[in-house]
Structure formats: C-alpha cells, structure tokens
Amino acid sequence: MMRLVTFVAGTAFLVLAGAAMFLIAGTPNLPSVWLRLARQSWRCACSSPRRAW
C-alpha cells in the first residue's frame, strides 16, 4: 500500500513539474533528447551510400 502511495505521489509530482515546465516555457514543444536521438538515427539510416552508376 505504501509503495503504491509512493508511486502515485511520485508520478503526480512529475506530472505537475512537467506541466509547470510547459507553462514557463510557453510551449509544449520542448526539444527532447529522445526525439533528437531518434531523428539522428533516422538520418544515419537514410544516408546509406548510393551506387555510382
């Protein structure tokens, strides 16, 4: 029970902190490291060497 309360309280705190960040930033589109890493991986995957002919 106490572990469940810990999880709910911890997650609620993170949601509030996230909401505060978006409000202060003035946009929900904050750059995310995951998005940047995914884009970079996609670019690397798409830039395979082309054939010469």
Partner: protein
C-alpha cells in the same frame, strides 16, 4: 521526464513496504536539516525554471551537442541505477537523518555499500551532474552544482549521527573508507 518516471517505478518495485513507510512517514528523532532542505528546494526550482526558459523562450543553449546529451543519458541511467541498487541493499534508507532504533537498524554493508558508504547520494551526484546535459541546457547545470555541494554537506551531517548512534558504523567506516567515489572522497 521519461527517465524520472522509470526511476520512480524502479524504486517502488525495489523498495519494501517498511522502507516506503519510513520514507513517507519518518519516525521520531530526525535531525533537522533546514539548510539542506531550503537549498535543495531552491536549487531544483532554479533548475526547472532555467531549463524551461532556456529551451522554450530564450534558447541560450541552441546547438547543444547531441553526443553530450547522449553522454548525459548514460550518466543519468548510472545514477538512477546506483540509487535503486542502494535501495535494494539498505532496509533503512530513510528520507530523513535519524537512527531507526525501533526497527533495530543495522549497518548496510552489502551491494554498493561494500564499495562506498553513501551510494544513494553518489547516485544523486550523477543525476545532478547529468540532468542539465540530458535537457541540453548549459545554464541549468549551475544550480545542480549547488545541490551536489549540499549533498556533500548533508552527508557530513548524516555521518556525525551515524558515528555517534549506530552500532558498528565506525568499524564499517574503517573498512569502507570512501563516501561517494572510491579513492577520492
């Protein structure tokens, strides 16, 4: 943010009900920590504020290197892992500085405690060092350096209580000489 949710879930899965109860409702006799509590609150609010203003409005850290963010993610994961590992091996990991006599507190000596005396704070140091990097914000690193200094201050205060009141701690400290990083401190 995703890492913090993962961390919360990992902590909850790892900790026992007794540890969760102690962390939510600490027992009596805790040492007051006004300097640490006030300083840590200011440091974390400043961190969130600076990250939000930097990334959303002023773009002070535009062009932050992606490879450094990736390094930050790795260091952050190491810090989170160290805290979870400490939770697994310390049944008395309270959020307050106090000797849990009513629970028959003993010195934790296994897992990360066999290497350093405060692996939970060492994990906090890694998390503090990497948080600004993960967000990709140079100025957000500054308040976390303040928090790391405060963690060292709190560690010293905690050790005074442990040396004075926890049986076997002096012998343990003789065997495990370093608090955060073997060979350094």
């Amino acid at each position: 943010m995703a890492l913090r949710v993962l961390f919360t879930a990992a902590c909850v899965v790892t900790m026992s009900e007794e540890v969760a109860r102690e962390r939510l409702k600490p027992g009596p006799g805790a040492r007051p920590e006004p300097v640490y509590n006030a300083g840590a609150t200011v440091a974390w609010i400043a961190h969130v504020l600076i990250v939000s203003l930097d990334l959303g409005r002023f773009h002070w850290s535009a062009g932050f290197p992606l490879w450094l963010q990736a390094v930050g993610v790795i260091v952050m994961l190491a810090g989170l892992g160290l805290v979870v590992w400490a939770l697994r091996h310390n049944e008395y990991l309270s959020a307050r500085i106090r000797i849990q006599g009513e629970r028959g507190q003993r010195v934790a000596t296994t897992g990360p405690y066999a290497l350093i005396r405060h692996p939970n704070y060492a994990g906090g140091v890694l998390m503090g060092l990497s948080s600004g990097l993960v967000f990709g914000s140079w100025p957000a690193i500054v308040p976390m350096l303040l928090w790391i200094g405060l963690l060292a201050y709190r560690t010293r205060n905690e050790e005074r209580v442990l040396f004075a009141g926890l049986a076997g701690y002096s012998e343990y400290a003789g065997r495990v000489r370093y608090r955060f990083l073997p060979g350094v401190w």
